[in-house]
Amino acid sequence: MTIANSMKAKILPGGIIAPGGNSIANKTGLWAARHAEVDQKKCIKCHTCVAFCPEGCIEIDADGKNVKVNPDYCKGCMVCAVECPAGAITMKKK
């Protein structure tokens, strides 16, 4: 009961999960074999990767410039690495 335990959520009849809003607890990045990593020296801070990430798991730092991939949710799909115009994103094996 990984999801249920982590959120104290209950699985109800019919597979209904309550309360809602528990997707943060479900660390889907755990399934991945690799995840994206940003080379800050090559990164041109264009944030293209942020827009393309299907999981929404590339975060912009408080300074509004640097980006960081959250490995808890990155599934290693490589979309960011392909889209990055500076070639600053590489895939790292877990």
Partner: protein, 394 residues
């Protein structure tokens, strides 16, 4: 059409009876797609809606697959949802029937049973409903228009019972029941509305106070337990059927057993076990034979899912000759009802003989002489493990 304020008797078809019950229940949403012989049900109901007698939202979907999907959306959002279909329509719903039961949504569907294609045929047999018997729906089979009316009302409360929360299918024989006029008693509106009450599904897709996730992905770590809970709810539905039936009986004065007995007591030597309108023909013959001194009766199964094994076992174990009349094939196996009766008796220490018959495929008549032949076979002790066919052209 009837807007009765007192108990009254009216001539109605089974289709009208279903629509009349739906008018009184007044579900929030009725998604529909026409198919013979179910069409009169939604036609009559749409007339009620057009005349302003119900506030129901009717959704005319592009297929039965979408009909059941819309019913699921409505039921999950917090609205009572009902629909009706037949044959290929039920088959097209198959995927979504499992979603409705798996999500534990108490949708009620009236089915006018009709043969599945191919070859195409619009008349009655049970291949549609029997084909979906493992889809997780409670299944009630009705002999008469009265049973259709009563069972539709009963089904709503059974489906929505907090310990059940399962969809319910109310079956009637296409054309034979759905299109023939019968004298039936209609309750006044208010007792029906009181009986079904307001739709109170415990969770709503639209609730902001108590947000929940419906239809989430469920991998090997959870699905097994969820399906076991669903199986337990289906067993519970058998108990709740009795409770709800007895509550309805207080209003109608009629009984709602899981199976009906006709001329069956401790002296009965032979019975026909069957479902739906064929039970009427069987009873007519049994009555005539009984008057001539033959100890024969009829067992009409009304609740097919969950199947009432325990109660039936106690009853059937002492009856020597049992004929089971199925209105559908189970290709490569034995017919479904016959299989259930074998399962019912397999743990009983009994020496009864059971014979399987298939009849009425694609609307083929079950004649009195066919039923007489069955009782004659039973009396002569002619039993085999082969399924026999009634009124088959050789």
């Amino acid at each position: 059409m009837n807007t009765a304020s007192n108990n009254n008797n009216l001539a109605m078809t089974g289709g009208e009876a279903a629509a009349e019950a739906m008018r009184q229940i007044e579900p929030g949403v009725v998604p529909v797609y026409p198919i013979t012989p179910q069409t009169p049900i939604v036609e009559y109901f749409a007339r009620f809606q057009a005349a302003g007698k119900v506030k129901t939202e009717i959704i005319t979907a592009e297929s039965e697959h979408s009909v059941m999907s819309a019913a699921i959306g409505a039921a999950a959002a917090g609205s009572r949802a009902m629909t009706a279909t037949s044959s290929a329509g039920l088959a097209l719903m198959y995927e979504i029937l499992g979603v409705a039961s798996g999500m534990r949504l108490p949708i009620v569907a009236n089915i006018a049973n009709r043969a599945l294609s191919a070859p195409i045929n619009i008349h009655c047999d049970h291949s549609d409903a029997i084909g979906v018997r493992d889809a997780g729906w409670v299944q009630i089979f009705c002999e008469t228009a009265q049973e259709v009316y009563d069972s539709t009302i009963l089904a709503v409360r059974l489906a929505e019972h907090p310990e059940v929360l399962l969809p319910v299918m109310v079956n009637q024989d296409g054309f034979i029941t759905s299109h023939l006029l019968e004298d039936i008693e209609i309750l006044p509106d208010q007792p029906v509305k009181n009986f079904v009450g307001a739709y109170r599904y415990p969770y709503s897709l639209l609730s902001q106070e108590q947000p929940v996730t419906f239809g989430a992905l469920m991998l090997p770590d959870h699905l097994f337990e969820t399906k076991v809970a669903q199986a337990e709810a289906m067993q519970k539905a058998g108990e709740v059927y009795k409770e709800v039936g007895s509550a309805l009986g207080k209003i109608t004065g009629r009984d709602y057993p899981k199976f009906e007995l006709f001329q069956v007591d401790e002296n009965t030597e032979a019975v026909i076990v069957t479902m739906s309108s064929a039970a009427g023909t069987a009873k007519a013959v049994a009555q005539k034979l009984f008057k001539k001194g033959q100890k024969v009766g009829v067992v009409k199964i009304k609740l097919f899912r969950p199947f009432p094994y325990e109660e039936l076992r106690a009853l059937l174990k002492d009856i020597r000759g049992i004929a089971v009349l199925d209105r559908a094939f189970s290709f490569g196996s034995v017919p479904a009802l016959y299989s259930e009766i074998i399962q019912t008796l397999h743990r009983a220490e009994t020496s009864n003989n059971i014979q399987s018959y298939v009849f009425g495929i694609g609307g083929r008549d079950l004649r009195e002489k066919d039923v007489k032949q069955v009782y004659a076979d039973l009396a002569a002790g002619q039993f085999s493990s082969e399924t026999k066919f009634l009124n088959l052209n050789q």
